[in-house]
Symmetry: C2
Subunit: 293 residues, 2 copies
Amino acid sequence: MSARILDGKSVANAVLEEIGDEVTAAAAARPPSLAAVLVGDDPASRVYVRNKMKACDRCGIGSRLEQLPASASDAQVAEVLQRLNADDEVDGILLQLPLPAGIDSDALLRLLDPTKDVDGLHPVNLGKLVADDSSGFVPCTPAGIVELLRRYEIDLAGRRAVILGRSNLVGKPLALLLLRRAAVGNATVTVLHTRSRDIPERIREAEVVVAAAGSARFVQGAWLQPGATVIDVGIHRLPGGESGRARLVGDVDFAQAVEVAGAITPVPGGVGPMTVAMLMRNTALAWRRKRLA
Amino acid sequence: MSARILDGKSVANAVLEEIGDEVTAAAAARPPSLAAVLVGDDPASRVYVRNKMKACDRCGIGSRLEQLPASASDAQVAEVLQRLNADDEVDGILLQLPLPAGIDSDALLRLLDPTKDVDGLHPVNLGKLVADDSSGFVPCTPAGIVELLRRYEIDLAGRRAVILGRSNLVGKPLALLLLRRAAVGNATVTVLHTRSRDIPERIREAEVVVAAAGSARFVQGAWLQPGATVIDVGIHRLPGGESGRARLVGDVDFAQAVEVAGAITPVPGGVGPMTVAMLMRNTALAWRRKRLA
């Protein structure tokens, strides 16, 4: 038996279409706009930013790119962010992470206008997640996972969800989301990390497993409970085999897991496109809030 | 065998003494000061505020009480908070919760100057907890639990901690704290709540149990793993027996649990005094930060 594939790519496309429809319907108004800030020339970051700008195009969101050299100072990045904060034509600001070594990302994130922080990483927005206050923005990867579970009608209430990874970007905010009294929520949530003991046994206890370990093909098929839902947040580039082409894999050994799980996200085409779609949704939300304010 | 008693009262006293020493040593400077805002006449809230002001006296922190009638409007409470925000002689502001029905606590908490929010409930401070940014304030009850575990040298690294309760004040912030890469941290953390299944079995898996269920004597001794550390956050007033005096009990059946656990907090005299001590520590921290700024 093979698991149902949770097709993040097609769900993401549906989300982009819905946003496109809303933007078209509000034709009289200025369309939403996103400003992406890219510092340095990390090739992966360039690809991510380009994908996000393509998604903007696809749903009628205007976008602009602010590029700074890897040698930029904290003050220079801060100046760009403050200019974008002050610009009424900019609804959302995306500071692409990671920033070059030596730049204080946390201090820069705190400079963002929280009402334009469409990545949901300003402390005010993370705090609203703890306080169950829906006036903020939810970080895009955790929001994308919740949206994927929602569209596939995977019920979490009372079920055991295990999150592997305690990062600020994924593990911790996702734990808060899955605990909420909400349609996709009410789970019994456990967070595992590098210091956790007996990780295979803990994963086997879970009806929903979210792998955000940052380690290629870490989660083995034999660790899974038969029928579990498996969400793979990882993305790793492995050197090519005979064909010579690089291969993308996740934090889960997909070939093994697909035989045991009840449902699983592929890599690529699972969580990745959902993350981008949620950035679009947050940008549209920022734009809508500004119009209604 | 009977569990070791984690004596919150005497640890809290030690914390207050340390604060008192620091305040005395800084004799030249204005001592720290806390402003408590009490709206309405809930008897429990009056007792809590009085206890907090007594603790201020004991460690040399100045305190003042701002009282408003139960009929006060949101705007009237807001005005008091904004006056205290602007007052340079006030280091910490405590808005005693719960507020009377109809008042929007969340909106009022958001008005607090985050640098004076010594209860740690402003979204910025909750968000700093998610982001592992130590420049904020940690909510007092979770901070008190961590401090108690620290002083009793109870190691959590790699151990399973189960938190019963997902409140914004205790369960969620405590989960974030116990996950941190910190001396009292690195635990495998599970959060249970009213929608969780098989609560007794889940509690039995834990080496550390934190009961913040809001239900008197909910946790039974038979649910515990022998040797577990049990932290009881609850406080409930039961009608008196033959003696006629009311009795305080926690969320744990203490008489049963003390025979199974390795260590346990009593009620009263466990988490309660630690919560007050952490409010003092946060107030002293706000004062110190202002002097160093």
